[in-house]
């Protein structure tokens, strides 16, 4: 399997890291050398044939790519459209996150880094990072909100078993936002030998672009697989959940400039958009700067970042990636707010209809199908971003 990892034209990031009004690199001077080193080198590194060969070999032989594109017949009958599931849950470590950590660990190696720091919400990115660090023999430190450590304990244990040090983030809401703050602080304190593997399409340029490129393997495969199954590489809709938005960026990437394909993003409404316990960023947020980029951000009138809430730790983030902010502002993407209850129901439904227990994050994308007013002849691809094993303790409360 070969790819180009080439940028798309109209939603391409600018050389300063902006997608329309969103993006950039709003970073303290302490991080400037690291981010600049990455900015100046990432395209050269990933274009290198030796990098490409190693990246694709690992995706095939270690991650298990390509992942299947599965026609979900019983779900299709229930929804009343043709639904394909892109099975990222079948990746090694159980989610799409490893596509990016494989890419970034190879970049980090080529930059001569000895240590990796990462943040994690649900733990999927932390596990994926710990996995590639074990594979490459690099020290790994993962920051995780102390509340998330409780609700995603199996993933904490997995990270530790893989040799990572998991550090609780105890400030603020003790979730993903605070884990990200702590990981950034760690990087500030260890600028020379450490690479920060950001897990989503957030952070200062070039992270959103770099992560989107590594995840773009998802839409690249979908195009080929859908063509093989239907004779048309373009579905009517691509649906994915958005916390920071890495699986969505990967699922949308090769469709960004295909105007007949609607891009659908499911955000976590938590207990309801207006409940005060929500993470529905586009519904509740406005432009602002967080974690190094200008994006849409949940915040108070005074510009203080609002504590988000979602039953799903991976969507419990007050912002979205700048590409998604641009998709929202430009109208290229449709954004739906999905409550905890709707996600849980969709998770149970997929389990019973197709024998697939989805991650709670993914369950939000599945719940969007019910709201989309689909026609019988519509072809829909849902990015099944991760498996639900880690969420069993949450699901079991509602059985």
């Amino acid at each position: 399997m070969q790819t180009t990892l080439e940028p798309k034209t109209s939603f391409e990031v600018s050389n300063k890291g902006f997608y329309g009004h969103f993006g950039g690199a709003f970073i303290p001077e302490m991080l400037y050398p690291n981010v600049e080193e990455l900015r100046q080198n990432y395209l050269k590194i990933i274009a290198d044939p030796a990098f490409q060969a190693e990246f694709w070999q690992l995706l095939e032989e270690y991650v298990g790519r390509p992942t299947p594109l599965f026609l979900a017949k019983r779900l299709s009958a229930h929804i009343g459209a043709t639904i394909y599931l892109k099975r990222e849950d079948l990746c090694h470590t159980g989610a799409h996150k490893i596509n990016n950590t494989i890419g970034q660990i190879l970049v980090a190696q080529r930059l001569g880094k000895q240590r990796i720091v990462a943040e994690t919400g649900a733990g999927q990115h932390g596990v994926a990072t710990a996995t590639v660090c074990a594979l490459m023999g690099l020290e790994c430190i993962v920051y995780m909100g102390s509340i998330d450590m409780e609700r995603q304990k199996p993933n904490v244990d997995r990270m530790r078993m893989l040799g990572a040090k998991v550090v609780p983030a105890t400030s603020g809401s003790q979730t993903l936002k605070d884990a990200t703050n702590e990981a950034m602080r760690h990087w500030i304190n260890n600028p020379i030998d450490t690479h920060y593997i950001i897990g989503s399409v957030v952070g200062p340029h070039p992270y959103p672009d770099m992560v989107a490129r590594f995840q773009s393997v998802i839409s690249e495969e979908v195009k080929k697989q859908l063509f093989a199954k239907t004779g048309n590489e373009n579905p009517d809709y691509v649906v994915a959940c958005v916390g920071g938005g890495s699986n969505a960026a990967g699922a949308f990437y090769h469709y960004l400039n295909e105007p007949t394909v609607r891009l659908v993003a499911a955000e976590a409404a938590g207990q309801g958009v207006s409940s005060g316990h929500s993470a529905a960023t586009t519904a509740l947020g406005k432009p602002g700067v967080l974690h190094g980029s200008r994006t849409i951000l949940m915040q108070t009138e005074d510009g203080q970042v609002t504590e988000p809430y979602s039953i799903s730790a991976g969507l419990d983030y007050p912002g979205i990636g700048p590409l998604h902010a641009h998709l929202f502002e430009s109208g290229r993407g449709d954004f739906y707010a999905i409550t905890d209850d709707e996600a849980l129901q969709a998770g149970f439904q997929l389990s019973k209809l197709e024998g697939i227990i989805p991650a709670l994050e993914t369950a939000h994308a599945l719940a969007a199908l019910e709201k989309m007013n689909l026609n019988a002849d519509d072809v829909v691809v849902v990015c099944l971003s991760g498996r639900g094993d880690k969420d069993l303790s949450t699901y079991s409360k509602f059985l």
Binding site: F26, M30, Y32, N181, I188, N189, P287, G303, Q304, V305
Partner: protein, 268 residues
Amino acid sequence: MTQELTQNRITSLFSQKSERLLNLYFTAGYPSLTDTTTILRGLQAAGVDLVEIGMPYSDPVADGETIQQSNGVALDNGMSIKTLFAQLADCRNATNGEPVTVPILLMGYINPVLQFGVENFCQKCQQVGVDGVILPDLPLDLFLEDYAPTFRKYGILNVHLITPQTTEDRIRFIDAESDGFIYMVSSASITGSVKGVSDTMKTYFERIQAMNLRNPRLIGFGINDHETFDMTSQYANGAIVGSAFIRHLSEKGTSAESIRAFVETIRS
């Protein structure tokens, strides 16, 4: 440089005094919401050369635990940029006791300033007598592109940081585009996390000293007692103390005597 900048209290200060300047940082609204001007006046009475007032932010990634915690308390107390400007409104006038004449810098993160409105922010700074700002997550490049004309229009200095990892070219660029002073971060760190002055730090200080920059320099991060103040002052025009002062305010209170005692321990 505009007319306003030449009259700025910070540039005036450095033209009059070039050694052992002491800049103290505290967080607005900490420990209590109404402590801001009390601490400001206490610092002036204690003879500090500059005062840096932190505008609290929910996610202060360049700061360590002590300052982050003070930010959280201040936000819980109800502090905001709007409230801070209201508290500072009369401090330069003699209507409410001794007027504050010490140069004032506001330090904070870009998002609250963006929400307040950059022009509105600069105008308010000018009105209440704020001389400069430190916004660590607004890199010089983005500042020059989008905001520099507004800051200059209102005579507000924007102080930029350099670190041991900043390249010589970038230091020259920052020096060329800065007015007021350069904030030298002592080591690769967040605030309040460094103890003592290492040989590596001295080598860095000497390297910068030898560059003969046009701007004066203050060293910050890790300056917490007389020894570190004395040591760093040999290599720059002075130093900035933050976390240690926040800890002192927490433990010993905000009275003029308490503040004078702290400043004396740093200076002598």
